[in-house]
């Protein structure tokens, strides 16, 4: 893990051997969110940081074949993943090494790693989900 690299956006995930996405929960209505909203869009009250489940199920995906922004690999894949433990469907980059393994409903696992560059053109960490269990866990 390149610990000197910045995340693609601050406050979105914790890197390290067991990465986790940082979402939020509204203490009032118990709704969870990712990314963390400014306030709860129902109650307009403060929300609290929570760690989200690092395991999900692939809802849908796509593979972009053309030249990519942010020096992402060509091709690369993205998808929506259901974090069933949290009741959230979230958008994510998918493991560029595992594009051929993608399938609807497949179990996927959170990773954080150095992929592409940020808005300043600097190499950065991105979260992504992979079909491969284990890894650096």
């Amino acid at each position: 893990m390149n610990n000197d690299l910045k995340p693609v956006m601050e406050g979105i995930f914790e890197a390290g051997p067991s990465p986790q996405l940082i979402g939020a929960i509204c203490p009032e209505c118990q709704q969870k969110f990712f990314p963390k909203p400014m306030v709860c869009p129902q109650c307009l009250g403060e929300v609290q940081d929570i760690k989200l489940s690092p395991v999900g199920k692939l809802y849908t995906y796509a593979i972009l074949r053309t030249k990519a922004m942010y020096k992402l690999p060509q091709p690369y894949a993205v998808g929506w993943v259901d974090l069933e433990a949290d009741g959230l469907r979230i958008f994510t980059l998918l493991d560029p090494e595992k594009i051929e393994d993608l399938d609807f409903g497949k179990k996927v696992f959170l990773r954080v790693g150095p992929i592409g560059v940020d808005n300043n053109g600097e190499a950065c960490l991105r979260y992504y989900f992979t079909t491969q269990d284990g890894g650096d866990k």
């Binding site: 809802y59 849908t60 796509a62 593979i63 972009l64 074949r65 922004m69 469907r89 609807f104 808005n119």
Partner: protein
Amino acid sequence: MRPVDIIGVGITNFGKHIEKSLVELGGKVAVEALKDAGVKPSQINAGFFANMQAGSLFSDFTIGQNVFYQAGINSVPVFNVENACTSGSSAFNLAWMGVASGAYDMAMVLGAEKLIIPNLGLMQAGTSELDTLEGMVVPNAFAMRANLHMATYGTTKEQLAMVSVKNRRHASMNPLAQFRNPITVEEVLNAPMIADPLTRLSCCPNADGAAALVLCASELSGRYTSKPIRVAGSVLVSGSYKNPCNLAQWEADKRASSIAYEMAGLGPEDLDAVECHDAFTISEILHYEGLGLCPEGEGGRFIESGATTLGGKIPVNLSGGLLSKGHPLGATAVAQIIEGVRQLRGEAGSLQVDGAKVFMAECMGADKAGDVKTCSVNIITK
């Protein structure tokens, strides 16, 4: 709210207008719409100008005033409206509200865009959005919908390709369309892949273009035209952004069209022709279902049945759609309505639907949270 009619239209071809500025393109259709309506510039009580990208591409602003100025329209309120692909229909909705409310007797709606620019790049939702940073660009937003629709309902990539083929066939009869040569399913499938299953021929090309129309209180429109076209329903909504999102169905389409049907006192079975936002082949399939033209999940089989082609049960995108015309963002949704005006006036030439009385224009723009930021439905009648 009082009834409102469309009494004049003006439009450029969609395609390359390298030699003309945005303001010139706009001025041209403003003059054309005034002449078509038979009104003087001084009779226009308000101007609504739609454009999306001139700020970022040309650092331009308050362009509407410059455009209307060229056609002698001054002194009156002028608003510059942006709403992604629905910029034109948002301007239309505001102008309709202005005339319907009695604030204005006559208003012009004008959309214009120049997108034939070197190195334009793929569209995305803004570089401050997390989704964009994680790799969301417009083509894969739609590819995810296409893949899911195929997996869920058995839609085939051949059925998706048929949307491009049908719209090109229509475009071959529309002299204002950018691409008019017929294509085959095989050509669509074998074109360079953008995001599986969407090839280059499954995605609408860029274009320059402009379109304008004149709205008039119905109680006055008889002075100017014997063929006023009534605005029977005008609706704009934004996404509900529910989580979990449903990427196989467009809730915004359903919601907007059901409000529009109710305003018009009509239903999908009453429509004689539809223009919808076919930015990608899958979009048109989803719109069939969202607008109630066919049941949920049946979009693929609906295009295959021929229902949406000229002569079919409910022809969709007789203009050739964005897939053939290109997509000059600010002009797009105004041009869609003008297609309807021509059908209802009986001026659509070889694309004419016999006895067309009811027309719907649908547009949609900008992805957010697995939903759309803006969706418009307008129904016009003879």
